[in-house]
Symmetry: C2
Subunit: 339 residues, 2 copies
DNA sequence: AATCTGAACGCAAACGCTTGCGCAACCGGG
DNA sequence: CCCGGTTGCGCAAGCGTTTGCGTTCAGATT
């Protein structure tokens, strides 16, 4: 039916062992024989069965990537970049989309990934039990989101510093009532919302602005969440004159809420986001840019390096650069709306 | 080391064959024995090695998904939805991200997918050779993008009709100089740009508007492409008073270009898109909505159905409903800017 | 009581590869 | 000319399942 290693062996007049060694560049085969075998394999259109070779050899040449929600821009972009690195290195990518709690539970209890992958890139933060389950796979682990666990290599950004630069910008413009839209209520165990909030608090304290808990609104890291949160803030007796949204998607939701309330941005309210979503430039959103694709790339590289040389100790956490991007959704507070 | 089927067998005092049959619900095992085995397996945390079972059984319980660019909203969303269906049915997803020509070529010549998947969902249109390569895998094939090949099941939308409703809307508003932003220069072999263009032409003809080729601008299905194309149109001696962008991303690029030119939307220029991107509501873009996630779901279901019953003939192409969504980027032409 | 019939289960042969080990043949050095 | 050391290759034993077929045994049929 389909051409197997013995077909190549017979065609060349050698044993299957030799074919195996030749095709994978292992020693013990003369150069002359190697070229003959490679030629024959190409001729027959032979590709080794991954199932068979991973069963026999242990290596699967497959990387598992675990994602909370592929459709979301951030994860899609990271995945895209990581996949390119993996496939260029000859690895396949097994994708697990663990958005729903059921899917997540199913995954971590059945662990279908077991014995199927050589490494795992997790774009979600596993809780301690889940992290333990992943470690039990006994393969290199990496993540690109804040809140890594022991045993995970991590590449990320300075969330706190980023938040600081965003909020400081608002303070410098003269804002005093600065709201924050967060998503802390969403998936647990990740430190991003916490770090970004800390940056917000730090700058307020530094500027001598008293922190008003009413100015913090949660909504989940989505457009809808941002819209809900902004709506809450607008319902306040003294609404903020500026808001820091912990993600661009939430910032866009905030923009929508503001438009619904017939408020102008930035004349009436300033908005600053975080992430530099691909469409942020379109809406002119001031934000803090992080290199999303680069993080996926880097994480993938770390994993591959670890696979190449398992003895090398785990690398230090990698911190990628961020930068503040001034666009058009921020301005000094409008005196007529000041309290 | 890791628990295998024989461990379960010994723990239960039966043979490995019986364990295999019991766990997969095959006949030949008493109900009583089955529950004992299932219990033991759960206790030991046993999961069958996919490599071994696919080697022995032929089935891989894996679906290959081929995507041009995971990071793009449309594909990410389709993938997300499809993955959920697959994983709920016990299938894993192998992802191939074929954005670059090199990746694409590598994939189709080496065909690493061979013997690794039970079915393939392609979100890109293979050229005839590539399609033949996929057919040679001898597994069910499906796609969600226009321009399917023989041997592929297809779920899609009425691109032409959608374009018609978008352009008709502009005509009804009173526009006569209606531009179109297209991406025909991008990946070949897919009929979407062609169909949408045809819808555009149909409506113009129907309304007795002479078609001016200068009003068609190409730019690739991206924000940047849309921006470039819009910029071109604005450089015309008689720029259009309204434009139909073949995708929302291009429409957003157009919006950006218009903002850069200090033109107001919709007062100066009307814009209508296609797709209903998740952020289109945020920018208030009038567009034609297509059920993106639902298409991924449906395609996945078709594949699973085909796997369950290989003898069932291939289903008819599925056409999903679309609907026009009126938002805020369209209005009657501004008399002061009429030519 | 002898025979037949299923149901329930075990045996062993694949599935297609990898890899430790063994065995020639050949090399140059003493 | 003998011998230790390479080099190049084949043998065969796995890797963990699935599955066709054979066996056993209890109960039904004559």
């Amino acid at each position: 039916m389909t051409v197997s290693i013995t077909d190549v062996a017979e065609a060349t007049g050698v044993s299957a062992s030799t074919v195996s060694r030749a095709l994978r560049g292992r020693p013990g085969v003369s150069e002359e024989m190697r070229v003959r075998i490679v030629a024959a394999a190409a001729e027959l259109g032979y590709t080794a069965s991954r199932s068979a070779s991973s069963l026999a050899g242990g290596r699967t040449y497959t990387i598992g990537v675990v994602v909370p929600y592929v459709g979301r821009w951030f994860f899609g972009t990271v995945l895209d970049a990581a996949e390119k690195v993996f496939s260029a290195a000859g690895y396949d990518v097994l994708l697990y989309n663990l958005g729903s709690p059921e899917a997540r539970k199913r995954f971590f209890t059945k662990l279908p990934i077991r014995k199927r992958v050589d490494a795992v890139l997790s774009l979600l933060i596993p809780d301690p039990e889940e992290a333990a389950a992943l470690r039990s796979l006994d393969v290199p682990l990496a993540t690109t989101v804040g809140g890594a666990r022991p045993g995970f290599m991590v590449v990320g950004i300075d969330d706190r510093g980023g938040a600081e630069s965003a909020v400081r910008h608002l303070v410098n413009l003269g804002h005093r009532r600065i709201g924050m839209i967060s998503g802390a209520s969403e998936p647990l165990h990740w430190t991003t919302p916490i770090d970004r909030r800390q940056g917000y608090l730090d700058v307020l304290a530094d500027a001598g602005i008293e922190h008003d808990p009413a100015l913090e609104a949660d909504g989940g890291y989505t457009v809808e969440g941002g819209e809900r949160a902004m709506t809450e803030l607008l319902a306040l007796r003294h609404p903020p004159t500026a808001v820091f949204a912990q993600s661009d998607e939430m910032a866009m939701g905030a923009l929508r809420a503001l438009r619904r309330h017939r408020l102008r941005v930035p004349e009436d309210v300033s908005v600053v986001g975080f992430d530099d979503h691909e469409l942020s430039e379109v809406v002119g959103l001031t934000t803090v840019a992080q290199p999303v694709a680069a993080q996926g790339q880097e994480a993938a590289r770390l994993l591959l390096a670890q696979l190449d040389d398992p003895d090398a100790g785990p690398p230090h956490p990698v911190e990628m650069p961020i930068r503040f991007i001034l666009r058009e959704t921020t301005a000094p507070p409008n005196p007529r709306r000041q309290r």
